[in-house]
């Protein structure tokens, strides 16, 4: 937003061949190779600009100051001219006059400085705020998306969209600043030309179509190059992200060399695409305008040269006219360079809007859902489910868990046990059958109610950066320190927490890697226990926990089981020994169902499983 456009061009131009950023690799390659149609580009730009609306005053004031600044820039040289023409040339300059002009000029400079600061600062702050509001919008949108989305999209790619892609919005807004100031300059320059010599102005105008073709071609072609570039970069960042997270495995298996080479290859490919883009920009942007300018100049001079054959052409006219030609092309050249920002912005914008428009939204409850879970009865009626809508992993599941009961789910690995939990927790939408809670469709409860009353201990424990207490409490500030300690005691986690030098305030680093796996599982167990859920769901919640600790936890659960429905998944049959009902799952179907004794009597799969655990035992030692 400053003056001195003469050469700024050179600076502002290609500089940041925009870096960063990432795509969903699930994206079809050929789609990425396509360019974005003009119409869509326009829509994207319009939508992006909407984000600036809440901060319009910042932009308006910034733009007004910039306009005032350009007026002042016209006015300041006039002071000098006045000084020289009126006082110096006729030699009338006294010390007082000289000092007076100096003071006047300096006053103008101060005003200019203030305007510069105001316009620069407000424009930047406005852009920053707009950018951050895009980030906020993205982040909250992400929380409305269903698990399916996260299954399919690499985390590195999502993160990059929230933090990096949004960054190009900043430059994108700069593009608008340069368009605004540029247009003003172009129009005034054109009128000045036309006033001086109409035909000459038309000669210059004849170059406009070439310009438009160049812009059109650039916008089409470069959106393709930019997309390819971003796709590569995205690949790079996803690789980087995954390698950082899986560094342990890479090192243990000594695959550094191979992984490094793969990375290098993508890195090299990215460099190649980027160089291709630099070539395009160098061929088509301000260099091209400069060429057009020089050619227009040649044409104008030819026109005046030919004209001078017949009529007298003053030197002053030539000077003035050629200056206007320059003033006409300079802002265009400026704007052309910002085109790369626009392209980059459009490509980034498209990626951002793809998240904002994504319809893989989390399962929705009925709009007027208002139920309240009181008893905790759960009923599955002929529920079938497929993650991808095709391959069924659950088939016609039906069972009833009465309030206060414990249901055990067993079965071969991959038989669909966790999937039952996944749909009951509404992580994924199911389309066949019905789940009822307290006799009412699960969709008739607001999500908050479900979340409050149903507690789940996940098969994989996840730790948040922070401390032990905050990992148990999460964001729920209603939970007191005392409650946290009780929950930790309940799951026997107090034993190791108390040994930590800072106890409940011991730092937890990313992934909680300073705890043993079992300790992590205990903490995540405590996280659920502290919410005292009406329905407790345990998905292999004690798989990484020793039997001693486990039986103490079970002892505790048994004491508290009144009024709580529990669903427990376990491979160790001992874990579900207290269950009133046991469901045996195989390949997504319930194959057996009943109490322990009934199932044993059936001599079916459960009996086999049981025998197996026994068989192993039997080979060793005929105990008990």
């Amino acid at each position: 937003m400053t003056q001195n456009k003469e050469k700024k061009t050179k600076q502002q131009s290609d500089h940041q061949e925009p870096t960063d950023v990432t795509t969903s690799t699930s994206e079809n390659q050929s789609v990425w190779a396509q360019s974005i149609p003009m119409k869509e580009q326009g829509q994207i730009i319009k939508r992006m600009l909407k984000f600036t609306l809440p901060f319009k005053w910042l932009f308006i004031i910034a733009i007004l100051s910039a306009t005032a600044l350009s007026l002042l820039n016209v006015f300041l040289p006039r002071i000098l001219q006045e000084f020289m023409d009126k006082y110096l040339t006729p030699s009338r300059g006294t010390t007082r006059v000289i000092l007076g002009f100096a003071a006047l000029y300096f006053l103008g400079v101060l005003l200019k400085a203030v305007l510069q600061f105001v316009s620069n600062y407000l424009y930047s702050v406005g852009s920053e705020k707009a950018l951050e509001s895009v980030r906020r919008a993205l982040f909250s949108k992400l929380h409305t998306l269903g698990m399916r989305y996260f299954d399919l999209t690499p985390a590195g790619s999502i993160v990059s969209r929230v933090t990096n892609d949004t960054m190009s919005l900043m430059d994108f807004l700069q593009f608008f600043a340069s368009i605004l100031t540029g247009l003003l300059g172009i129009i005034t320059a054109y009128f000045a030309m036309a006033a001086l010599n109409g035909t000459g102005a038309l000669v210059v105008l004849a170059f406009l179509p070439i310009l438009l073709v160049a812009i059109w071609y650039y916008a089409r072609y470069s959106s393709r190059v930019y997309r390819r570039m971003r796709e590569r970069l995205s690949e790079l960042n996803v690789k980087l992200n995954e390698s950082i997270e899986g560094i342990g495995v890479i090192q243990e298996f000594r695959q550094e060399h191979r992984i490094g080479q793969e990375f290098e290859q993508t890195n090299g490919e990215y460099l190649a695409t980027r160089k291709a883009m630099i070539h395009t920009n160098s061929l088509l942007l301000s260099s091209l305008i400069n060429l057009l300018y020089a050619l227009a100049l040649t044409a104008v001079l030819a026109y005046f040269g030919l004209l001078s054959e017949h009529v007298f052409v003053e030197a002053g006219v030539i000077y003035a006219f050629t200056t206007y030609v320059q003033n006409f092309f300079n802002p265009i050249s400026d704007m052309m360079d910002s085109l790369s920002f626009m392209q980059d912005g459009v490509v980034a914008g498209k990626r951002i809007f793809r998240i904002l428009d994504d319809s893989t939204i989390a399962p929705q409850q009925h709009p007027d859902a208002s139920g309240e879970i009181t008893a905790g009865k759960i009923e599955f009626r002929h529920v079938s489910f497929a993650y991808d809508g095709e391959h069924k992993v659950l088939n016609d599941i039906s069972f009833i868990a009465e309030p206060g009961q414990t249901i055990g789910i067993v079965g071969h690995t991959g038989s669909g046990k966790s999937s039952i939990i996944n749909i009951m927790m509404r992580f994924y939408e199911f389309y066949e059958g019905q789940i009822l809670i307290d006799g009412k469709d699960i969709k008739d409860y607001p999500m908050t109610e479900l979340r409050r009353k149903m507690g789940l201990v996940l098969q994989d424990s996840f730790m948040f950066y922070g401390d032990v207490a905050s990992n148990i409490r999460l964001f729920n500030q209603d939970i007191t320190d005392r409650q946290i300690e009780e929950a930790a005691e309940f799951v026997q986690a107090d034993r190791f927490i108390n040994k930590l030098s800072r106890g409940y305030h011991a730092r937890v680093i990313e992934g909680g890697t300073q705890f043993s796996s079992g300790e992590r599982q205990l903490i995540s167990f405590a996280r659920t226990v502290v919410t005292d859920p009406k329905i407790l769901v345990l998905d292999e919640a004690t798989a990484n926990i020793d039997t001693e600790t486990e039986s103490m936890i079970q002892e505790g659960l048994r004491r508290l089981r009144r009024g709580r429905t529990t669903i427990a998944i376990a491979h160790r049959l001992s874990t579900i020994k207290d269950a009133e009902q046991i469901i045996v799952l195989d390949a997504g179907r319930i194959v057996e169902h009943g109490t322990h004794d009934q199932l044993l009597a059936q001599k079916g799969r459960y009996y086999q499983l049981y025998q197996l655990q026994h068989g192993v035992d039997a080979t060793a030692e005929p105990t008990a």
Partner: protein, 586 residues
């Protein structure tokens, strides 16, 4: 300007590119001098009515040629210099990646993923800018600025010139003061970006937990807080950054004021003519652009500098691993002799292991059991060379493992971590992760051994199925068994299963253990487990508690001891009978 020195290695390596770039730049600038001259000449000629058609044609051809030269040399310097920036970015990214690959666990505990990613994206971008826009602005402003000042000295008046450039030192002062503030502000801003990255990364990775606890709104609120903080920090950057232009305006303004006063006086005294003053003012006008360019230059430089410092700080961290005595050594093999007197984790005074001594002959199996957090995984980590600073020593085939490069120890080991990590590629490539040259038969064999082959055949695309990030589209037991096949694939001398059967059912567990017993006759195996049935056939079982061995022996011996092991065994027995009554183990 320090950043140019810091990047000296790069400019040296890319000397040719930058020299050509600057030559093209110079050429473009020189060609740019032609049009004004031609305009002047043609205008004069037309004004004097001396213009002939052939003359006109000659000058126009010159003009067109200058235009083409300018176009070509512009193309030249752009591709050279921006290409240099792109190359620098690639180079830095390679370095970072290579660096990450060789860093140890301590490093990754200290730095969060989001932060490391921010270094590789945001910071690299700022650094590469120095090699592009930075170099260009510097060269261009020096070029234009110095020629202008020389022209002023020669063509106008040296006294006036000296007076006029009197405020220039202010420029240096301003640059120093603002530059320093800008540097700090950029550092903070980049750290804020890292935090934002960390937060996003964590929320995405932990999305299931957030959903489980219905904490979406709270998480968004937390993000908003971080964003608010980022805005505050960035505002500071903009405040300082927006001061450059006004400060330069004032400095130039001072030059004009001096010119008005001193130049005016000189004209009044008739030392110089008005005409000279006019061209002098025009020259000052020519100085305006390079000065503003310097302002912008500082933005680029300080941003790059702050980022370069951040990246360098990272790169200067050292891996904790002890340097081996030899550079390369054959893969170790033989009996394992594990003699650890004491080990504690870095920054943790408590001993994690004490007096862990055991010997394992080649082909034997060791079982590790014990309560949560007892130290089972820690015992394995030392074997895997994750930490080297313990008292005592571990030898394999008589070779102290700290005396050879980590690679020759790891080459002997197939490790199945407790928390398995899969890569987002196909099932096949996950299995042959450490043996990419192996064919389908070998892959299927490893899969069959870990009892996952049949599962895989049921997947929609069998061995071609993509497992998703960290294996999201697999069940817990499937992930675990893939990790086992991955370890079996390298035909390891020593196989380590760290609670690696916790998520599989009894039947599958038995199958896998049977397969291992059969296929790994003369190979060593270490199994940690909570389910005692996994270790009961081991040659020796160690019961670990609080980092110490409390019981040891084989299954029978341990049962006879009637200690913790026997008690747990009984519990698991009793419980699996689901009878409920308590028996004694014996």
């Amino acid at each position: 300007m320090g950043i140019f020195k810091k990047l000296g290695w790069f400019f040296k390596a890319e000397k040719k590119r930058y020299i050509w770039g600057l030559i093209f730049l110079l050429l473009a600038d020189l060609a740019g001098l032609i049009p004004p001259r031609v305009i002047g000449i043609l205008a004069d000629k037309m004004g004097n009515k001396q213009l002939t058609l052939s003359l006109l044609a000659e000058w126009l051809v010159l003009l067109a040629m200058a235009a083409i030269i300018q176009y070509l040399s512009r193309f030249g310097w752009r591709t050279m210099i921006w290409g240099g920036a792109a190359t620098l970015e690639r180079e830095m990214r390679s370095r970072l990646f290579a660096f990450f690959l060789k860093m140890d666990a301590t490093f990754f505990q200290k730095h969060r993923t989001g932060d490391l990613m921010a270094h590789a994206t945001n910071d690299l971008n700022a650094i590469q800018n120095v090699a592009g826009a930075g170099i260009l602005t510097l060269a261009d402003s020096i070029l234009t600025g110095s020629t202008t000042i020389i022209a002023m000295l020669i063509f106008v008046d040296w006294r006036l010139t000296l007076m006029a450039i009197l405020p220039m030192p202010l420029l240096a002062i301003m640059a120093r003061v603002l530059g320093r503030h800008l540097h700090t502000a950029f550092g903070e801003s980049q750290a804020a970006f890292s935090r934002l990255n960390d937060k996003t990364q964590e929320s995405i990775s932990g999305i299931k937990v957030i959903k489980t606890f219905g904490q979406e709104d709270e998480d968004v609120a937390d993000f908003d807080k971080i964003v608010d903080k980022t805005i505050t920090i960035n505002k500071k950057v903009y405040r300082i950054d927006s001061l450059f232009d006004p400060a330069i305006s004032i400095i130039i303004g001072l030059t004009y004021v001096i010119t008005i006063i001193y130049g005016g006086t000189l004209v009044v005294n008739q030392t110089i003519t008005v005409g000279q003053l006019i061209s002098f003012i025009a020259y000052i006008g020519a100085l305006v652009w390079p000065m503003f360019a310097i302002g912008r230059l500082f933005n680029v430089i300080e941003r790059g500098n702050a980022s370069y410092d951040r990246v360098n700080e990272l790169l200067s961290e050292k891996s904790q691993a002890v340097a081996p005595k030899v550079d390369s050594a054959p893969v170790v093999s033989g009996d394992l002799d594990y003699q650890i007197d004491r080990f504690s984790y870095p920054d943790d005074p408590r001993p994690a292991l004490q007096q862990i001594h055991f010997k394992l002959r080649q082909g034997q199996t060791l079982g590790l059991v014990g309560r949560v957090g007892a130290g089972k995984t820690t015992i394995m980590k030392l074997l895997l060379r994750e930490f080297d600073h313990y008292q005592g020593q571990i030898t394999i085939g008589g070779q102290d493992i700290r005396d050879v490069p980590a690679a020759s120890v790891l080459g002997a080991i197939g490790y199945v971590p407790q928390d398995n990590f899969l890569f987002s590629t196909t099932v096949r490539d996950n299995i042959r992760f450490a043996a990419m040259d192996q064919d389908q038969d070998a892959v299927e064999h490893a899969a069959a051994q870990s009892a996952i082959h049949d599962d895989i055949l049921h997947f929609s695309q069998q061995y071609e199925t993509l497992v998703g990030e960290k294996g999201v589209s697999l069940s817990g037991g499937q992930k675990q068994r893939l990790a086992i096949s991955r370890a079996l694939m390298v035909l390891p001398e020593i196989l380590i299963l760290d609670d690696a059967l916790s998520a599989v059912d009894a039947k599958t567990e038995e199958t896998i253990l049977e397969n291992l017993k059969h296929d790994r006759q003369n190979k060593t195996t270490i199994i940690a487990a909570h389910r005692l049935s996994s270790v009961m056939n081991a040659d020796e079982i160690l019961v670990i508690d609080n980092g110490q061995i409390t019981e040891r022996g084989n299954h029978q011996e341990l049962l006879q001891r009637a200690g913790w092991y026997a008690e747990m065994w009984a519990k698991q027995q009793v419980e699996s009978q689901l009878g409920g009554e308590q028996h004694d183990a014996e």
